[in-house]
Assembly symmetry: C2
Homo-oligomer: 362 residues x 2
């Protein structure tokens, strides 16, 4: 049931990947439980140090003998303009005050510019620890990095938001491409096309990508249940990657206020913002997003802004305050449930099987 | 094959509705051919006078004995502010000059404010001519109008872009609701939710609507082939409404340059604009859209702006000039083909049947 070249390549039972959500969501328990349930658990390692990665990989190996994967952010060039940082801090300081945080007007330059070195070290850990699957967001790694990973028999998964980006992933040697529709929560993965151009719904995007690449296509964005899985398969995808559906699971490390915000939201409550990190991302509307909207166009790029808002997001979260923390969510919050990973996957497969049978009666 | 409560209600063979594209696309030949092929042909009558409607209905009755439908725009209150019109004309006059059109600085007030009367007359024609199916866009008609149509056994189809709008359609007595995803080309049908909130992809939108209404849900936006039809059915829709796929058909009345623009476009070439009509709509990027972008927020509402840009759109079209005419398209232009309606529908059904069989092999 539901076997195909994607499940065979990844050696998993069901064509379901748990999206590698960065920032503490993908606990070892979540990743291991997903892999134990016959799907692919993924570590969202984008913000992790090599040591944190190694520790979590070892922990997961204790909890499952099934394959699991890891996701890394492909670093890009960026500028740190001291004047720009100062003016952002002027905007952020009144918010810091509301959270009883000290104001800031300068920053340590040394916080930045280590992204490329860190990435190479992260790749080293993936190889040393023999993580069987490695996926990438925000771009395609260099030929050298790809060759090194391939030499170590690591299966490579790219991310694309348009046909062109999917084709580039295939050309670069990715074994599988995750195609992110406009429905998706969290950061947009666009790296060639602009953010506006990249906002294509899955109903349009999947068949157009499938017609133009030969590697297996994974559908991502707003998929929460057996209906989304079967629809993706009909469109030509070989499987799905689901974020929000796993984020509200018992085993996920997302903050309680984040889970509750999703469980209480409706499909028209999410919005695209670049105010948290400098990269466009979809989350549930809150005070921070609305207050920052008028500054949005003038804020620095990722990862500069992400580092600058870090203290605010952390304090808001620590204070159980919804107002100033990123509440990433796809466009299907009405379908989110508080349940175990096991129950989520069981329900998806049962619903998919039911749809299979029902379609026969047409 | 592919029968359900929607096909039974509409008395059609296949769960496919040709979207009622206004502005000359839905020729009698297109509508009749769609109905003759076992799907539902629809007249896009939004901009028609009652007499034009009557004439086309009679013509179609000569060409098919199968059911067909008609779509009307539900009128809304609007203001005509003379100063606003003058300032728009100042923006539009340089474009008029490029098209050898005379400049304008005032307008005939009598062009406006007849929308409500026209609508009542249009409803009268639908009843007199016994058109079996009537659909609505841009809102829900008054209780009185709905009661009158129902008394005459006309099947009513509403349009929604969010769960809330779908629920309101059901409450008002609509028999079927067409749910328009963010992928859709042409005008957004949102009437309660704002334009931004209404941009939900079908993968997210359909299951959330299906869970909240009891009437049949029709999926609309970016659907071009058997894959989109089967995916929509998996998501819980009872059928699909397709616009762009019919627009490029041989029988469609769309201008040659419009058809060619779609046939040459890619998924990342469409954009949302309100510069043509005052209502947000998705079309292929061109000079007019890009030049008007900086004025977009200050332009008057529909239908005022639509009337003001009419001479420009017409002249651009007459001169085979792509630059200043609306090139409405959904997000799947790579899937558009120049073919007959018969061949389009045959291909959809053949592909849907193939998917049906393939899924069994999972």
């Amino acid at each position: 049931m539901l076997k195909n070249e994607m499940t065979e390549l990844l050696q998993i039972q069901y064509p379901i990947i748990q999206a590698p959500m960065a920032g503490g969501v993908t606990t070892s328990k979540l990743v291991a439980e997903v892999s134990n349930s016959g799907s692919l658990g993924m570590i969202g390692a984008g913000y992790m140090t090599p040591n944190q990665m190694r520790e979590q990989i070892k922990e997961i190996k204790q909890l499952t003998s099934n394959p699991f994967g890891i996701n890394l952010f492909v670093p890009d060039e960026y500028d740190v303009i001291e004047e720009e940082v100062k003016s952002v801090n002027e905007i952020l300081n009144p918010i810091r005050e509301q959270l009883d945080l000290p104001g800031k007007d300068s920053f340590e330059i040394t916080n930045f510019n280590t992204a490329f070195e860190t990435f190479i070290d992260q790749i080293g850990v993936v190889i040393e620890e023999k993580v069987p699957i490695c996926s990438f967001t925000f771009g395609i790694p260099s030929k050298k990095v790809i060759a090194k990973l391939k030499k170590n028999n690591i299966i490579l998964v790219g991310t694309a938001t348009t046909v062109r980006e999917a084709v580039e992933n295939e050309k670069a040697g990715m074994d599988i491409v995750v195609v992110q529709g406009s429905e998706a929560g969290g950061h947009r993965g666009n790296f060639i096309d602009g953010y506006q151009e990249s906002l294509v719904g899955l109903m349009s995007l999947i068949p157009q990508v499938v017609d133009n690449v030969n590697i297996p296509v994974i559908s991502a964005g707003g998929i929460m249940d057996g209906r989304g899985l079967m629809a993706s398969i009909c469109l030509g995808a070989k499987g799905v990657q689901m974020g929000t559906a796993f984020l509200t699971c018992i085993e996920s490390g997302a903050h309680k206020i984040h889970k509750e915000a999703i469980l209480n939201a409706t499909e028209d409550n999410t919005i695209l913002t670049r105010s948290f990190s400098g990269k466009w991302a979809r989350g549930i509307k809150n005070k921070f997003i609305l207050e920052m909207q008028r500054h949005e166009r003038f804020l620095p790029d990722f990862p500069v802004l992400n580092i600058l808002t870090q203290d605010i997001r952390k304090a808001s979260s620590d204070q159980n305050n919804l107002d100033f923390v990123s509440l990433w969510s796809g466009q299907s919050p009405r379908l989110a449930k508080s349940q175990t990973v096991e129950s989520l996957i069981k329900n998806i497969i049962a619903e998919a099987n039911k749809i299979n049978l029902d379609i026969q009666r047409f």
